[in-house]
């Protein structure tokens, strides 16, 4: 459970940082406003949808961190045989990274009011993300035909479970991205869809980050990292 | 007024109930009277807090209930008072936690001279195993469990052949000798619980858990399962008998070793 605790410590740090700016030590009973005052809004200038997505990503982060926690705890038991990492996984990683880059580009072009370029960026993002999912399915097929079936070993079970969960999140993102692309085709001004594009890009970067962590986990680098941490501690 | 009276009644009746209750723990039969003492300390502290808070609320309702013309006092906070209350609470908490951790340390530190007794749970009965003449238990594996070998003892481990197996019968242990209970399960979670010994621990399939105690009283005690283990959970009872040293030896002589058990099992199948 130490992985999730580290994750939560990070969240706690963000919350503490935010709370530190909220005057939690003020004495509200001494601060009544008078007639003629126009009190300010005490909220953030970041768009609400972005904050909403940020909170949602924290939840998704917790979800994957818990899977990783469970992975490490289960890995400590005797019957664990690591699953090989097919070469195709590298290709998929690159495809997903391309997807992320394409959306970032779409966002930058949208900010510059280049609507055609933005549309192209969105389309590339959409296509590469679908490519990633198809690629993942091929990885699954390759592993299954090599005899690494789901229930044979916990390492296999975790691999299919966690990559599946990640794929579902990409799939959910595709719905939003599809809608955004559709809107982009019907909007005259990039301004109308800028926020949606930004949100998609943000989500994509996050899912790429999650994927990189998962990839490191499956490739075994994460274990080496944990070992190094352990040695540093002892 | 009724509210005040009933609140006072709740506080007083709770204390009286505690003092007069016929439902109190079973007479202790192990060395864990430390645990009982910690519970008593906790009862004193928490009982005092509970009575004080409820009576204070009753007094407030009595003294400050609404009457025409009343106005509440205006006091947003009182740092000094809050500080003192927090300090006193902290002291109370430490007074409970410190003995608790002290006794827990004893609870998890198994004395070297403790003899091992293995308990193996299955739906819904208890099996036991004692080390044989060589003083140690052989290895075991859930995969090796068969009808003839309900504990899954490893036949190829010489250390296990002289182990004494008590399948589905009473367990005997000698009085005043510390025992380390090694707990296993072959199917689901169980929990070895003898109320008179105070100690208990879950039995988890796939691992060996343990706790230790010293029986201090001879007699027959009931083993209850304290972790839900399916529909038969309430029927999962067993018996442990604490014997004097002589009685224990007599009983021990009559028990079967693992190799004897396997032999008789085979002869039965041959017949």
């Amino acid at each position: 459970m130490s992985v999730i605790l580290i994750f939560l410590a990070g969240i706690a740090a963000i919350i503490t940082w935010w709370m530190a700016q909220q005057r939690l030590t003020s004495r509200p009973w001494l601060e009544a406003g008078s007639v003629g005052d126009t009190p300010r809004y005490d909220v953030s200038s970041i768009p609400t949808a972005k904050i909403g997505l940020g909170v949602f990503l924290a939840v998704v982060g917790a979800l994957f961190t818990l899977f990783i926690s469970a992975y490490f705890m289960r890995m400590g038991l005797q019957d664990w045989w690591a699953i090989p990492v097919p070469g195709l996984l590298w290709v998929n990683t690159i495809v997903l990274a391309l997807s992320s880059v394409a959306l970032q580009w779409a966002k930058i072009e949208a900010e510059k009011h280049h609507i055609e370029a933005m549309r192209t960026g969105l389309l590339i993002g959409l296509a590469t993300a679908i490519g990633f999912l198809v690629g993942q399915l091929f990885v699954w097929r390759e592993l299954v035909s090599a005899g690494y079936v789901l229930a044979d070993n916990p390492a296999n079970s975790f691999f299919y479970l966690i990559t599946g969960m990640h794929g579902l999140h990409i799939l959910g993102g595709l719905v939003a991205l599809g809608r955004t692309t559709f809107k982009a085709w019907h909007a005259e001004q990039p301004g109308k869809v800028l926020l949606s594009v930004e949100l998609c890009a943000m989500y994509w970067h996050f899912m790429l980050l999650v994927w990189l962590v998962l990839f490191a986990l499956f490739a075994g680098w994460a274990n080496d990292f944990v070992d190094i941490c352990r040695q540093l501690l002892t | 007024m009724a509210v005040v009276l009933i609140l006072v009644l709740v506080a007083v009746a709770s204390v009286l109930f505690h003092l007069l209750s016929p439902w109190w723990w079973t007479p202790i039969a192990s060395n864990w009277h430390y645990i009982d003492n910690t519970i008593i300390i906790t009862f004193w502290i928490t009982g005092f807090v509970f009575t004080a808070v409820v009576l204070f609320v009753a007094y407030c309702v009595f003294r400050f209930r609404h009457k025409p013309g009343n106005q509440a006092h205006y006091e947003p906070e009182n740092k000094k008072l809050e500080f003192w209350l927090a300090t006193v609470t902290t002291i109370g908490v430490v007074a409970m936690l410190a003995p608790g951790l002290f006794v827990w340390n004893q609870f998890v530190t198994v004395p070297k001279e403790a003899t091992e007794v293995e308990v193996v749970g299955q739906q819904w009965l208890w099996n036991f195993r004692l080390p044989g003449a060589n003083g140690q238990l052989g290895t075991s594996e859930t995969r090796d469990v068969t009808a003839e070998n309900p504990l899954g003892i490893n036949k190829n481990d010489a250390a296990g052949l002289d182990d004494i197996v008590i399948a589905g019968a009473e367990l005997h242990i000698p009085v005043d000798k510390p025992v380390k209970m090694l707990l296993r399960s072959v199917d689901v979670l169980h929990d070895f619980y003898v109320p008179e010994f105070r100690a208990k621990m879950d039995m988890v399939p796939g691992m060996v858990t343990y706790f230790w105690f010293t029986p201090t009283k001879t007699g027959t005690f009931e083993i209850l399962c304290a972790e839900l283990c399916g529909v038969g959970h309430p029927q999962m009872r067993g018996t442990v008998v604490v014997d004097t040293a002589e009685d224990y030896q007599t009983w021990l002589q009559q028990q079967q070793t693992f190799s004897q058990m396997m032999a008789s099992g085979e002869s039965m199948t041959v017949n």
């Binding site: - | 645990i35 910690t38 936690l97 469990v145």
Partner: protein
């Protein structure tokens, strides 16, 4: 249209959406069924929660009948008994308490108390309710499938939860239960995002965090915790579904079940327990913190006095919320985990007692020198203090690792958690319903029925659960269909069980009176007016009661003060609403 001069440092926040088209629904369907109005969603959540709660109540009667009169009611066999306790527990904890506090009160109160028109993502909010309803239906479907619902206990510990020795383990029961939980969590996340982001971004002009009522603080903190804790239950549920349906071995070690070797091997049942309680312990506070917040407001309003030590109350809520993530393993002292963890978890658990105790002190100190109106909400608040203090103190027994050893898995535990997270929060729920019903419907609930309801519920519940501790002290284990002959079940204990059963039936009957009151008062209750309790918070200052979709008509409220200006010296009345500025005369007086 809202037209307030904005300066440069002002952003246009979510609260300040215009009186838009969305707030004028065109059909009956979008007004009452597929509504995106947080208040309608709140009522939908509450009614569904109360309906499923009624099922849980009936289940509790059935199990008490078995415990009070073992063998007398032959249709309650062991299988059914375990199905009843499982469904009762799960319904009460998740589908009633969590849903009602966050989905019900959260939805109703957050926008109103903050001066917002609605939640920030109304569409997701609506979906949240429909997913919750689907989760409830899937849960209830368990009663109608072959094998019935799961009987694994609400903790669903593997391996027994998915084996044939447990009702529903190899049938549909456990599958439906896990599916329902997964749906609930997805639905809750949609709602939870709304509650959190609305508090962050939806606050009216002048509503700083330290001017928020404690109700909002409680619900806000609980939602943040729930968003981070529920994923653990999600992970555990998905992994257990895999074990059950696809033959994996996440939680399943090698098992010989009824003489037969199963295919599983190597898994760890303790891993499930860690995941479950990583959710399960914060869950206790997910239920408790909204109750803490709401009861603070009830006490303050009905004692006509500001909540004592507001700042300390806020900090305590946040600290309790944070600490509750590092105490989960106190549910696992006798689970067989590394015993050295006991030292750490006992210490963190008992540390939580300090901020919790401070909250209790501040509630009773609010009563001190107050002007206590013994209204129904105040009565329930008093009932909460008594039951919560009782249940909280017995928590010190169970949190203190070595004391937990003899008491764990006994009726002491059952009595403890019913008192602290059953009776106490439900006292608050009732108090809150009596308090806010006039705002929701425009009418007061009947006082006489309310008083009968209070006394029977409070005293009855106390008489059920206070003596029950002593059965546990005696050693009676929990989750026993029948104890039969045993040293821990003397005849006197049997008499006590009969008494507890009779009390349980009585308390249950009183709830029928409450439900009747809810319906009866809709038409026959006294007209309430906009602010019957003369309260300061914004929900009582709406232009119309009940508030329409959009809450505030044309002008959003502007907040000038904190939520607790009761009995301010020199003020003409004993309360000053949050949206009322100081006249210059008064502010001079305050300054001097």
């Amino acid at each position: 249209m809202v037209n307030i001069p904005s300066s440069i440092d002002d952003t246009v926040p979510a609260a300040e959406v215009e009186d838009v088209e969305l707030y004028h629904p065109h059909s009956w369907w979008t007004t009452y069924v597929f509504s995106q109005d947080a208040k309608v969603i709140a009522i939908q959540y509450s009614m569904t929660a109360l309906a499923i709660g009624l099922v849980a109540l009936v289940l509790s009667w059935l199990m008490r009948l078995q415990l009070g009169f073992p063998g007398y009611f032959t249709f309650i066999d062991a299988e059914r008994y375990y199905q009843f306790i499982t469904m009762h527990g799960m319904i009460m904890v998740i589908y009633l308490l969590t849903a009602l506090f966050l989905g019900g009160f959260g939805n109703y109160l957050i926008p109103l108390m903050l001066g917002a028109r609605d939640m920030v993502f109304p569409y997701a909010n609506m979906l949240s309710y429909w997913l919750y309803l689907l989760a409830v239906l899937v849960l209830v479907a368990g009663f109608f499938v072959p094998g019935g619902p799961t009987g694994a206990g609400w903790t669903l510990y593997p391996p027994q939860a998915v084996l044939s020795g447990t009702p529903g383990g190899q049938d549909w029961g456990i599958i439906l239960m896990l599916t329902s939980l997964i749906l609930f969590i997805i639905g809750f996340t949609m709602g939870g995002l709304n509650y959190v982001v609305t508090v962050l971004q939806g606050r009216a002009r002048g509503m700083t965090l330290m001017r928020m009522p404690l109700t909002i603080w409680g619900i806000f903190t609980a939602t943040v915790m729930a968003l981070l804790a529920f994923p653990a239950l999600f992970v555990a549920s998905v992994m257990m579904l895999f074990d059950r349906l696809l033959g994996t071995s996440f939680f399943m070690p090698a098992i010989v079940e009824m003489g037969e070797q199963l295919q599983h091997g190597g898994g760890s049942p303790i891993l499930f327990q860690h995941l479950f309680w990583f959710f399960g312990h914060p869950e206790v506070y997910i239920v408790a913190l909204p109750a803490f917040g709401i009861v603070s407001d009830l006490i303050s309003t009905h004692a006509r006095k500001n909540i004592f030590g507001y700042r300390m109350m806020v900090w305590a809520i946040v600290i309790i919320g944070a600490l509750s993530f590092i105490v989960w393993a106190h549910h696992m002292y006798v689970s067989g985990m590394n015993p050295n963890f006991g030292f750490f978890f006992a210490t963190t658990t008992l540390i939580i007692a300090v901020p919790t105790a401070i909250k209790v002190y501040n509630w009773v100190l609010t009563l001190w020198r107050g002007d206590i109106h013994l209204t129904l909400p105040m009565l329930f608040a008093l009932g909460f203090i008594v039951t919560f203090v009782n249940g909280g103190l017995t928590g010190l027994f169970l949190g203190n690792v070595v004391v937990d050893v003899p008491l764990s898995d006994t009726m002491f535990v059952v009595a403890h958690f019913h008192m602290v997270m059953g009776v106490a929060p439900i006292m608050v729920i009732f108090g809150a319903i009596y308090h806010w019903y006039p705002k929701i419907t425009g009418r007061m609930l009947n006082e006489i029925m309310g008083r009968i309801h209070f006394w029977v519920t409070f005293l009855g519940a106390y008489l059920i659960f206070f003596p029950m501790h002593y059965l546990g002290l005696l050693g009676a284990p929990r989750r026993y269909y029948e104890l039969g002959e045993s040293a821990v079940n003397p005849p006197s204990a049997h008499d006590l069980n009969v008494f507890i059963t009779l009390m349980a039936l009585t308390v249950g009957a009183a709830q029928m009176l409450f439900l009747f009151n809810l319906i009866w008062s809709l038409r026959n209750g006294k007209e309430a007016g906009g602010n019957p309790w003369r309260a300061t918070t914004l929900e009582w200052q709406t232009p119309t009661t009940p508030p329409p979709h959009g809450n505030w008509g044309k002008e959003l409220p502007v907040v000038y003060r904190w939520a607790y200006d009761y009995s301010v010296p020199g003020a003409p009345e004993d309360f000053i609403p949050q949206n009322q500025p100081n006249s210059n005369r008064l502010s001079m007086e305050n300054a001097s």
